[in-house]
Amino acid sequence: MAANPYQPELATVEEIIEETPDTRTFRAVFRDPELRESFTYEPGQFQEVSVFGVGEATFCLTSTPTRPGVVEFSVKQVGQVTTALHEMSPGDVVGIRGPFGNWFPYEEWKGKKLLFIGGGIGMAPLRSLLNFCLDNRADYGPIDLIYGARSPQDLCFRNEFDAWRSAPDSRVFLTVDRGDETWQGNVGFVPAYLMDLAPSPENTIAITCGPPIMIKYVLESLEKLHFQPEQIYTTLEMKMKCGIGKCGRCNIGEKFVCIDGPVFSYAQLKELPPEF
């Protein structure tokens, strides 16, 4: 981490992958070869990405530190910076500050069964952890992924589904709100599909991220399935600017999402005031 936490490092966009009509994944490499080698982070952390002249925006690192040399972030187009990113081409320069925030306590989860529950772009932080765990496959029990989006075209990371499915002792369950003529998977909302699949909470950690409304119902469903709040993890989103606990923007009560989060257990969420 540079001495000046406000100063980004320059990186070149190497590849842009069109995930869905409104989401693209950027593969970027630092221009400083030494940093390219030394840069590391943890699954669940985020970074501030600069488009110089437009501004900065917060994205979680969707790549895994087990595959170093390149950083990846997936961007849904919603406003100024995300639009400017979508207008970029390979070879363009961005700034990257980070990594910031806490991460998934994967060390504590060794030997456990992992249940990933993602919705839409919320798959981005989960993908980092999922690939991290698959790269350390022996450390974990069976891995299940339930992933949903509005339509088949809105599912991110489609070119990785096969790799996830064929990894040892892992399963992928896909669902969409509305199918089309080619869709063969489940049709329905993620929380409902979760109830249908009814995974056992035994020795399991559930990790979820997605639109706020999905997270809300997934948490309720998991409780109905007798998951304890300590067994459930999610990552929160608040408006951020500095990423380092100074600009005063991202607090929920006494916690700054940028330094105390973004990863929280459901047990911790229950302690926070209801302002997210």
């Binding site: 000046n4 100063q7 320059l10 600069s50 849904k76 380092i244 005063g248 607090n251 330094i259």
Partner: protein, 345 residues
Amino acid sequence: MDKLLPKTALKDWLEWASTRYHLLGPVEAEDGSRSFAAVSADRLPALDNRRQCASPKEAVLPSCETLFTFDPGDGQPRLVPPGGEFAPTLMVGMKPCDVRSLEVLDRVFLDGRFQDPYYAGRRKSLVTVAYVCESKRWSCFCSSVGDPIEWSLAADVALTDVGEAYVATANTPAGEELLGCPAFRDVSADELATRDIVWNALRERAEPFDPEKVAAGVDWEEPAWDAIAEKCIGCGVCSFLCPTCTCFDIQDETIAGGKVERYRVRDTCQFCDFTKMGHGHNPRPSRRERVRQRISHKFKYIVHQCGICGCVGCGRCVELCPVNADLRGVLSEIVSGNGCESVSA
């Protein structure tokens, strides 16, 4: 170390100090408003209990500052840090609450996992001289939230008005050096006794807003939030002028030659889009939540995060709010609502 500075010798002291420091102090603008600006032997700082409108945070956390410049180069882009060293600066005539406010800012910007290099640069070049107010203004409530004398004694030097002279109390090596100026005389026991009378008067508290009591009483569903939110017009004056409000935004501006200046600029949690997110959701959608955030932050969250109360009782927000949303009224309600000793103004 205590010394005596005859009021007529203030000039000489500043003259002497100006060879080592850039001098700042309270001065009046043409429109009568007061702020910290350059002072000298010819333009003396105003030493009295009238508060400057802008707070000392302007000297360490300017309302707008460049973080770096992006130079696209010719295929060789690079970042250029802002130029310039920070000149050693002596800030003369800070109120006790002003001195305390720097302590609050220090905890935010110098402590914790990340240090703020811009703040640190300015702060480390700052030497402070407090002026212990001869009396409180109507809007002041420093002694309700802490001990203003203890706060003044955190300044490098504290000046107390004892009539024809100031008793100067040095609290640090830099302060003792400042008292080495020949303008100072030895102080008598009588003069020290007079100083103590001034100190004790300032310590007297009108209403008790002990930060612990307020923190314990601040309730998520506090009815006081509705009362203040009904009046508040969300102008943000209270936080822009508050010496301990630190929120900022980060923005880019393209300047000559395609270069880009990344700057930070003061912002406030009182503005409606402060927490509005990309997908349109806003966790603090109305004034009620935003007022609750500001007051809970000052008296509760920051105590947890930094171990210090975020309000120094300077009264700026009380005096300058255009709709007279008096913070003290809210605090009274919070403290009494919690069953603490009832508050009589």
